[in-house]
């Protein structure tokens, strides 16, 4: 038996993507809203659920105007029960709907850990393919500017360990729209990690519909000195570092992974074959991090290309501090990335 939830037609990923350049400049948060709204207009099974998403338009104003357009049956304010609304969303997904669950912050998803880690990603597997779980969990991830140890989580290292889920971490508005649309159309649970510090970023976002396939990295800078791998907010630190390095005649190949699961390791190895050096920048803790995984796969699949041991730039191995000066010392930044790249060239 197959359930209807598995019969959703995949978007046409072979269609060429619209150009990144243009003058339709909108904020990252608007790009997310546009993705959700377009999918909701197309498919009445899609709905948004979470704390403050309706009347308040979301704690970070991502769902502004959506209650007004779609009504309170599809844009739903919940009580403060993360485990409750995550589980409810999973049930609705099993039953054929297409929920988007917003966590005010991924930090607060931890009280819903059993639902999102122990249920959603295993449902299909445990039911021998009978119960699908096409759900998107999304929210803010990462240190947001002095939110303290319990409120600044980067959950990617912790959650990406779990088989059965997909994980998306966009760094810019264009990708945010195309990736979120793909996430909503995806038949499996997708963990979509946004960053508060990026929500006001502005860039051209095409008005048309487009879907960015998972597992395809974007090359943001071209060079043969060193491969830089990152995702999410630290991509911007890498861009700054690339500019600074380029001024010294050091051109890096910068790959923005965009999705962590699946991980586009092929693009990394291809780049490494050209540069023979690699620095991985990850804004979460070093131990068992996404950076650790990338470096491991690089050693497994690209060892012969390496002229220098792979280098990681992570946060310090301590809980996220609260004080401004300590938080700045804790996070990756362009200066550290420049030093790391230069180290590989020594």
């Amino acid at each position: 038996m197959t359930t209807t939830t598995l019969d959703i037609p995949a978007p046409d990923f072979t269609a060429p993507l619209p150009p990144r350049d243009g003058d339709r400049v909108i904020q990252f948060r608007q790009a997310l809203r546009e993705a959700m709204s377009e999918e909701m207009r197309r498919d009445h099974r899609v709905f948004l659920l979470g704390e403050e998403v309706a009347h308040y338009h979301g704690a970070y104003k991502i769902s502004e105007g959506m209650l007004e357009e779609f009504g309170d049956k599809r844009i739903i304010d919940t009580p403060i029960s993360e485990s409750g609304f995550a589980g409810l969303g999973i049930g609705a997904a099993m039953y054929g709907l297409r929920p988007i669950v917003e966590f005010m912050s991924w930090s607060f998803s931890l009280v819903a850990a059993d639902q999102i880690l122990n249920n959603a990603p295993k449902m299909l597997y445990m039911s021998g393919g009978q119960w699908g779980c096409p759900i998107v969990f999304r929210g803010n991830d990462g240190a947001g500017g002095q939110l303290g140890p319990t409120h600044s989580w980067c959950v990617e290292g912790l959650f990406a360990n779990v088989p059965g889920l997909k994980m998306v971490i966009p760094s810019n508005p264009y990708d945010a729209k195309g990736l979120l649309k793909a996430a909503i159309r995806d038949p499996d649970p997708v963990f979509f990690l946004e960053n508060e510090r990026l929500l006001a970023d502005r860039a051209h976002v095409p008005e048309q519909e487009y879907y960015i396939p998972f597992g395809t990295a974007a090359r943001l800078r071209e060079g043969d000195a060193c491969t830089l791998v990152s995702f999410g907010r630290p991509v911007h630190f890498c861009l700054e570092a690339c500019d600074e390095l380029a001024a010294d005649g050091i051109d890096c190949d910068l790959l923005d992974m965009r999705t962590i699961r699946p991980l586009d390791i092929d693009s990394i190895i291809q780049s490494l074959a050209k540069t023979n050096r690699i620095v991985v920048v990850d804004q979460s803790w070093p131990f068992s991090s996404i950076a650790s995984e990338v470096v491991t796969q690089v050693c497994e699949k690209g060892f012969d290309h390496l002229d220098h041991p792979p280098v990681r730039v992570n946060t310090e191995d301590v809980p996220t501090p609260y004080a401004a000066n300590l938080e700045a010392a804790y996070l990756p930044n362009p200066g550290r990335i420049v030093s790391a790249v230069k180290e590989t060239l020594r």
Binding site: E51, E52, H55, Y56, A59, D77, P79, I80, S81, S83, G84, S107, F108, L110, V111, G145, Q146, G148, P149, T150, E196, R197, L198, L199, A200, D201, H236, F237, E240, D282, W285, P286, F287, A291, S292, R312, V313, N314, T315, E316, D317, V318, P321, Y322, A323, A324, N325, L326, A328, A329, Y330, N333, P334, G335, R336, V338, S339, A340, K342, R346
Partner: protein, 374 residues
């Protein structure tokens, strides 16, 4: 009989001092001495001044984010007064500052905390308060655990934990209530029902008529009290505390109050709530009510008020000065307290910042200011 009633329950509402200053002699006589009422009123006024100043500090960029306590002081103070300082424990969330100060937390700690300094959460030794809790609801289980541990150790202490109406939607609330009751732990669950959880009104949070009645399901007494009535709060909390100390187990108290300010300084409540509702609650302000009571009983006059206002300003000015005079934490603080005994690896990280950390290459020494978008 095929059908019979197997359980019936009632939930009481208690009010002693109403919003017009009317006083229920039967319930309130000799409850709190005149001298103490005056002292508690003075504390209330000082806490309100701190609250207003903290708000202004935020607006002028000298404070990160601040959740105003304005309007909820009677609930905090009435509760704190019913507990024994230095013996009993307070397990707070973030909207009961007045109670924390009464149990020994220096006022500047709260400012320091919201100015973005973890050291505001380093509770001085001997002060029985746990750190502020940001993940909603999780601390109630700690409170139940502290109460249970204290019971095992036969200490005769009582724990009071504070949380909002919104927090009752978290599973942790229900688990804490259930555990406390099954284990007969000496604890008082103090729900400050301030009608709002950020922009979510009370009626979207629960379909129950009261929060107090949630106690019934867990087999403990639940009482609703006018949370802006110092006497009422003190009375019901004192009864619950005495019962807990005598081995009678936990209680739930719903203090019906109102968040007169925004959720935090990052919020603007005018976007989602009516001015008329706010106005109605402004008239029920615990400060106004208590002052009326004092005046009716010849315990207070305008001259005393003027002096108190001046004194509160001076105290708060000093508190702000103290908080702002504290230097930013030293960078090695980043590593301290990661473990009870710092492992060698962390000590090396601390002593050679960014020269020997995992995930960090020896050359990664550049410390630059963050790119800020917001």
């Amino acid at each position: 009989m095929p059908r019979r009633t197997v359980y019936e329950a009632k939930v009481e509402f208690v009010q002693i001092l109403d919003e017009d200053g009317g006083f229920d002699e039967k319930l309130g006589k000799d409850l709190i001495s005149d001298e103490q009422v005056v002292a508690l009123y003075e504390h209330m006024v000082t806490c309100r001044e701190l609250d207003e100043i903290a708000f202004k500090l935020q607006r002028s960029g000298r404070m990160g984010t601040f959740p105003q306590n304005k309007g909820q002081e009677a609930a905090a103070i009435g509760t704190a007064h019913a507990l024994i300082k230095g013996t009993d424990w307070l397990v707070p969330c973030y909207r009961e500052n007045a109670a924390l100060f009464m149990h020994g937390l220096p006022m500047h700690y709260i400012l320091l905390h919201w100015m973005g300094d973890e050291r505001g959460n380093e509770i001085p030794p001997g002060v029985n308060i746990t750190p502020l809790c940001i993940p909603i609801g999780t601390h109630m289980l700690h409170a139940a655990g502290i109460a249970y541990a204290s019971k095992l150790r036969n200490e005769g202490r009582v724990v009071a934990t504070f949380f909002g109406d919104g927090a009752t939607s978290e599973g942790d609330f229900h688990e804490a209530m259930n555990f406390a009751s099954v284990f007969q732990a000496p604890i008082v669950f103090l729900c400050q029902n301030n009608q709002w959880a950020i922009s979510v009104p009370r009626e979207s949070q629960t379909a129950s008529e009261t929060f107090a009645q949630k106690a019934i399901a867990y087999g403990m007494p639940g009482t609703q009290v006018d949370g802006n009535d110092l006497f009422g709060v003190y009375k019901v909390v004192k009864e619950a505390v005495d019962r807990a100390r005598d081995g009678g187990g936990p209680s739930l108290i719903e203090a019906v109050t109102y968040r007169l300010g925004d959720h935090t300084t990052a919020d603007d409540a005018r976007r989602y709530r009516d001015q008329a509702e706010l106005d109605a609650w402004l008239a029920k302000d615990p400060l106004i009510r208590l002052r009326k009571y004092l005046e009716t009983n010849d315990l207070w006059d305008d001259q005393m008020q003027t002096e108190l206002d001046e004194k509160a300003k001076v105290i708060v000015r000093e508190v702000v000065k103290t908080a702002e005079g504290i230097e930013s934490p030293a960078t090695e603080d980043l590593f301290n307290y990661t473990f009870a005994n710092l492992p060698d690896g962390i000590i090396t990280q601390r002593d050679t910042l960014r020269t020997a950390s995992i995930g960090q290459n020896p050359a990664q020494i550049g410390l630059r200011t963050q790119r800020q978008n917001a």
